[in-house]
């Protein structure tokens, strides 16, 4: 059991870099002290615009809370749900939020396992995003429940009534999977943040210092701590990757194990996982641009990293598109007439606008990412990343509503069912809640991993040194470095 599993054999690097002067993810000679300074600056007292946005989000959230209280007191009827349309926006948005979380894990765990170092400056906030989207999604499970006050019936614990939850229910799998995922990603986020919390501790005063002191658990960066830390972090990453895949597969079983047309599809698990990664990646792009702008993280969130992120998003979008299309194809060429009718209904019925909206936003829009201008214009990119997510939300709406509207039983079909303001209010409130949490997070915790950026710089320096040693000319050619960014 080696303690330096992450180590780079330097000789390989030498050979590889000899003839291919590669665009570096970070600029040369980024000062370590500067990293601390830059990142810690983001924790300083916020500007007024922060509070404006924060309180808007709070207001939105409060409205959501109001809607939920209203619903709690009067019954689910205020949401205009009805007999076939039993789930509505709650479950649709629940899947949306769960999905959003997956890319944080992708960036932090999968890319960590495969030593894709460009993840380092951006994984921290994406992982935070994962945690908060999961918290938001968990809210929807509660909001959706008809008898919220009896939620503890779903929890498996020996009790006075001698009852257990029903382990065959996908909802119980969901609860377990989400619980596991939330626990694990929270621990993963926290674990990865401990060295940074120590930095914060060393630089903070007063109450904040007490907080960081408590949270950093006395981290000192000793060799043993680092050694164990690296192993543990890698081990957790190895757990998190299959976990993330399983979570959204399990969410997909909520639908795939049921009899309903449009849901009873074998390709649902991968389709859901890819959809989750897709919406998560575009969410990360959105936050990338926002954080980069707000905290002036140009030195760390560089164009080369963004380029990689966009490429990954595009690739995922394409796989997702493929899976979506084969889902339609299998339905279309299959013999399930009801499912076929349901598919037709999606494309031509009451929710055709949403369907084609989804096709446009989530299948067509990704192609704009191929345009260099789009990749380099942050405003446009921000808008596109938001559009992609709108598309993904519409996709979730598409899964739920038309299936209920036109299921097996013709008598209970619904025409033009539409959610009430309460549902919209709660959905809007969830965005407020997420924004609030994320903004608070950004002001309390470093949203860029300082120690890992340092590692990155360190390794770049090592590589540079090695290259300079082997091939002195290449030193002068950092082509495209920091384009559109730092300078």
């Amino acid at each position: 059991m080696s303690h330096n599993v992450h180590g780079h054999p330097q000789m390989d690097v030498q050979v590889e870099r000899k003839f291919v002067p590669k665009v570096k993810d970070l600029g040369p000679d980024v000062n370590w002290a500067q990293i601390n300074k830059d990142v810690l600056r983001s924790l300083e007292k916020p500007r007024p615009v922060f509070w404006i946005i924060f309180f808007s989000a709070l207001a939105l959230f409060s409205f959501g809370v109001y809607c939920e209280v209203y619903q709690y007191q009067n019954g689910m009827g205020v949401a205009d749900l009805n007999n076939p349309q039993v789930w509505g926006l709650y479950i649709a948005t629940f899947i949306f939020w769960i999905g959003m979380g997956h890319s944080g894990t992708l960036l932090s765990a999968l890319l960590h396992i495969i030593h894709a170092d460009w993840r380092k400056p951006i994984y921290r906030y994406s992982e935070a995003m994962t945690t908060f989207t999961l918290l938001t999604a968990a809210l929807f499970v509660m909001v959706h429940m008809g008898r919220l006050w009896e939620f503890y019936y779903v929890v498996a614990y020996p009790n006075e009534r001698w009852t257990w939850p029903n382990f065959t229910s996908p909802l119980v799998w969901d609860a377990t999977a989400i619980g596991t995922y939330l626990t694990s990603s929270l621990l993963f986020l926290y674990m990865g943040m401990i060295p940074d919390l120590a930095i914060c501790r060393d630089n903070a005063k007063g109450a904040r210092r007490a907080l960081y002191k408590f949270l950093s658990l006395g981290w000192q960066g000793t060799d043993r701590q680092w050694g164990n830390f690296k192993v543990a972090y890698m081990t957790m990453a190895c757990f998190l990757m299959p976990l993330a895949v399983s979570v959204h597969s399990i969410v997909s079983t909520d639908f795939a194990v049921s009899q309903n047309p449009g849901w009873h599809v074998t390709s649902f698990p991968p389709y859901f996982v890819l959809g989750a990664l897709y919406s998560g990646c575009s969410g990360i792009i959105t936050l990338f641009i926002v954080l980069r702008y707000v905290f002036r993280f140009e030195a760390y969130m560089t164009q080369p990293i963004l380029n990689k992120l966009i490429k990954m998003t595009f690739a995922i979008a394409m796989v997702w598109t493929y899976l979506d299309l084969i889902e339609y194809a299998t339905t279309w060429y299959g013999s399930d007439e009801v499912a076929k009718a349901d598919l037709l209904y999606r494309a031509t019925g009451d929710y055709a606008l949403q369907f084609w909206g989804m096709i446009f936003c989530a299948m067509v829009m990704p192609f704009t990412l191929l345009i260099r201008y789009v990749r380099h214009n942050y405003t446009v990119l921000l808008i596109i990343s938001l559009i992609l997510n709108v598309g993904m939300w519409l996709e979730r709406f598409q899964i739920i509503t038309p299936t209920f509207a036109k299921s097996h039983y013709p008598w209970t079909w619904t025409a033009g069912w539409w959610p009430s303001w309460v549902q919209w209010g709660i959905v809007a409130g969830s965005f407020g809640w997420f924004t609030m949490l994320f903004m608070l997070y950004c002001k309390i915790f470093p949203s860029v991993s300082m120690y890992e950026v340092k590692e990155m710089v360190h390794e770049q320096n090592l590589e540079g040194k090695a290259m300079a040693h082997a091939n002195p000319e290449s030193e002068q050619a950092p082509v495209g470095l920091l384009e559109g960014g730092q300078a």
């Binding site: 503890y152 614990y157 009790n159 006075e160």
Partner: protein, 232 residues
């Protein structure tokens, strides 16, 4: 303890113990103790859930999880009926008054003329205040507004008939045991008080026991456990 069993880094301990507090505080709790504390907190938290403060049936203490030994509150009744006189001293069979128990879901309160049937003839106690009250109700032809002591939630059906038929008539158990299993030793009380939990787990704990299938047979089975047996 976990810390102890892991103890593979003795070398460091000394430094750390020698360290005092870098932050100026002397934090001397041992590692093992801390982990123990965490476990303690976890255990307390989970036992809190187990204690079910949320469950219907009132606060903890009004019923015990095993269903025994918590004498319920005294209930003000319109007439303080002395069960101890009737069932205790005079050894009247419970079903003499609670006559519906063997043929209906509810055991029922005895009809007023049942009381009168005897008390009309018992001259000696007619001047007692409780009996006077009884006569008052009778003369006004008013039913007595008794308060319910053994109350079940409205979504629960309990069938007295089946239990009485089974345990009293088939298995020939003494009546005080049969009724007292749920109602406690009413013969020692004046007005009845709840003794047993009457909670779901308490019901099930009995239905899970092995009972003889038929009287005299050696085949046993547990009581029925269909949800709809009790839930309506």
């Amino acid at each position: 303890m976990v810390g102890g069993s892991v103890g593979y880094r003795q070398g460091f301990h000394h430094v750390d113990e020698a360290a005092g507090g870098y932050y100026g505080r002397n934090f001397r709790m041992s590692h093992a103790k801390k982990i123990f504390l965490w476990f303690l907190m976890f255990w307390m938290g989970s036992s809190l859930v187990l204690a079910e403060p949320f469950v219907q049936g009132g606060p903890i203490g009004s019923q015990t999880s095993d269903g025994y030994d918590a004498l319920g509150p005294v209930v003000e009744q319109p007439i303080e009926f002395p069960h101890n006189r009737h069932a205790g001293d005079m050894k009247i069979n419970c079903m003499y008054c609670h006559t519906y128990a063997r043929r209906s879901n509810v055991s029922g309160i005895p009809r007023l003329d049942k009381c009168m049937g005897c008390h009309n003839l018992i001259e000696g106690v007619k001047d007692r205040p409780r009996i006077k009250k009884l006569f008052e109700y009778w003369e006004n032809k008013q039913p007595i507004p008794w308060k319910k002591v053994h109350d079940l939630p409205d979504f629960v059906r309990f069938n007295h008939e089946r239990h009485i038929q089974r345990f009293y008539f088939q298995e020939k158990r003494p009546i005080r045991e049969t009724c007292g299993y749920c109602h406690g030793d009413v013969a020692s009380m004046t007005t009845a008080r709840r003794v047993k939990a009457l909670s779901m787990g308490w019901c099930i704990s009995c239905h899970q026991k092995d009972h003889l299938e038929k009287v005299g047979s050696s085949v046993t089975s547990h009581g029925p456990n269909d949800c709809w047996l009790c839930h309506k």
